[in-house]
């Protein structure tokens, strides 16, 4: 009688290599055409809106209305202090739309596994569950950062070119500020993608995930642009929700005349403080996601 010997891999037994896990997640991402298309779409949308903003600017800078109760001399000096209409931050107006596309991809990156039940295969292959989450977060964060950087740099370069070509003046900023706006936008998109991924691991349903991500990150930003009336509410929302991170796009220090709104380029929080709010939410979501991933049946 022959004994059946169970198969054993010839590879030396060791705790799973984290690099292998990363490579596996990268393969999953890279081989789904829709996700890659989604990322490319995000880049194109951001660049396209940048060009649109530069193309739709008027040559003479518009006159600003003086608020009631301000003498005309005061008003004139305040207006001359106010920045011209065109800064590179204006050309990154598409970031919110690109962010929606990235959020959808990040959602699918997690939820697709739950939909098909493949998460059980993933967790069988890598039983230390927290590491799967970390690997996924690193992959989606890195991809979103690269896409965001390409998009932001492309939008700024092409749109500035177009603006100069049309004879528009673009306020030149010091290079650290420009770098902060461009790299900050990429970081905003990357961290938002990780935030979305964590939400997806918590709620596990794609519709709910994308809704939570868009309503918390994009909606307050949208509300503060579209709604001139209730500035108290939108100011508050731009301080406490993940949308605060859009502050990294603020081009110049704030003067007293301007209303805080992404439309005027001013935010209630300082640039990196706003970004820190998003990071805080992301860490919270990741911790909760890791806890639930460990505790729940997949």
């Amino acid at each position: 009688m022959t004994t059946v010997r169970p198969y054993r891999s010839s590879a030396p037994a060791r705790r799973g290599d984290f690099a292998q896990l990363l490579y596996a997640e990268w393969t999953k991402f890279r081989t789904v055409r829709g996700w890659v298309t989604g990322m490319i779409a995000a880049v194109l949308v951001i660049v396209g809106f940048g060009l649109f903003a530069a193309g739709g600017g008027v040559k003479a800078s518009g006159t600003k209305a003086c608020p009631p109760g301000m003498s005309s001399a005061d008003c004139r000096s305040a207006v001359s202090l106010a920045p011209p209409e065109n800064t590179i931050a204006l050309y990154l107006i598409g970031a919110f739309a690109g962010l929606i596309a990235v959020a959808v991809v990040a959602t699918m990156f997690m939820c697709a596994e739950y939909r098909r039940g493949l998460i059980r295969t993933t967790l069988a292959a890598s039983p230390v569950r927290g590491r799967v989450l970390v690997a996924k977060a690193i992959v989606i964060g890195a991809v979103a950062f690269v896409a965001g950087l390409a998009a932001a740099a492309g939008a700024v370069i092409f749109a500035t070119d177009l603006a100069h070509h049309r004879g528009l003046s673009v306020l030149s900023l010091r290079w650290p500020t420009e770098l902060r706006i461009i790299a900050g936008t990429a970081a905003l998109i990357a961290v938002a993608a990780v935030f979305t991924l964590a939400i997806a691991a918590i709620v596990r349903r794609s519709g709910a995930t994308v809704t939570i991500a868009i309503v918390t990150i994009v909606f307050p930003y949208f509300l503060s642009i579209s709604n001139g009336g209730a500035t108290g509410v939108t100011d508050f929302l731009l301080r406490v929700t993940p949308a605060a991170a859009f502050a990294v796009q603020q081009p110049t220090p704030q003067y007293y005349l301007a209303v805080t709104s992404p439309a005027t380029g001013f935010f209630p929080l300082a640039p990196w403080a706003g970004f820190a709010v998003l990071c805080g939410w992301t860490v919270l979501a990741l911790v909760l996601a890791a806890y639930l991933l460990r505790r729940r049946d997949a």
Partner: protein, 271 residues
């Protein structure tokens, strides 16, 4: 072997399909919660907007009707989600194949879904909008919007307020139909919700940075939110780029376009 429902008259066939769709929608736990969320969010945000406005010394040009209907802008996001899920849930679980096997006339299925979702939001929207107007009527006089300052309390007896209120309900219904059409085309709930919310938000945001007056005007004329919400304006209506009903018509065109593409795709594509 005959097709399911082959012996039925067209009207009976339609009403049975409607009943089946109603059962599906009614027995989902999420539908009720989300409908409640639409109403509660709309009313709460409207009341918060009312409470944050003040007019201490009179002479304010605030459009009180529009202000007290602010919540519609938040409620519409939930409306879009319910409408998207009504289609995409079935597609993601593969149950759409069973549905289409039972009701082979595919357009009847889509029409039944559209009728139900439309009716549902007609009801939920009416509750939300009426309560929002009522909240405005109760809250605003306490914030300086008194007859002494030239502001009558909101009343549906006022033709303009009535138009804004009815129009806001229709606005929510049209947003639902637009979302239903988009979801029928793309079928995946995350993508559909992203597309719908992106489409809704993109026009106001881009319009806000385009300083060219003509472009700005055109962007506001074609945006589903910007054009559709003209229906809420009661002050300085002549200055709007479109009349209120024309604006709602633009949104209706968006909804009709999305539903048409959805119907075409449903008809031609494998489920």
């Amino acid at each position: 072997m005959s097709l399911p429902g082959a012996g039925l008259s067209r009207a009976r066939y339609g009403s049975q399909t409607l009943h089946a769709e109603w059962t599906k929608l009614r027995t989902l736990a999420s539908t009720g919660w989300l409908l409640l969320a639409v109403a509660v969010l709309t009313i709460a945000v409207s009341a918060a907007a009312d409470a944050s406005a003040t007019c201490p010394s009179g002479g304010c040009q605030t459009d009180l009707t529009k202000l007290s209907l602010t919540g519609v802008q938040v409620g519409q996001a939930i409306v879009a989600i319910v409408a998207v899920l009504a289609v995409s849930n079935e597609c993601s679980s593969g149950m759409i194949q069973v549905t289409l096997a039972a009701v082979p006339r595919r357009l009847t299925v889509l029409a039944a879904k559209a009728a139900l979702i439309g009716g549902l939001f007609l009801a939920a929207g009416a509750v939300a909008v009426l309560a929002s107007v009522l909240a405005g009527r109760l809250i605003l006089p306490g914030h300086g919007f008194t007859p002494a300052h030239g502001h009558q309390p909101l009343s549906l007896g006022d033709g303009l307020v009535l138009r804004a209120a009815c129009g806001s309900v229709l606005y929510l219904v049209l947003i639902a139909l637009l979302s239903l059409g988009v979801a029928t085309v793309v079928r995946e709930s995350a993508v559909a919700i992203g597309l719908v919310l992106g489409l809704l938000y993109v026009f106001p945001v881009v319009a806000s940075v385009v300083s060219n007056q003509q472009w700005h005007r055109h962007l506001e004329q074609i945006g589903p939110i910007t054009a559709g919400l003209y229906i809420q304006d009661t002050v300085d209506v002549q200055a709007l780029p479109l009349t209120p009903w024309q604006g709602l018509g633009v949104l209706a065109l968006w909804a009709a376009g999305a539903l048409t593409v959805g119907a075409l795709v449903l008809r031609l594509r494998d489920a």
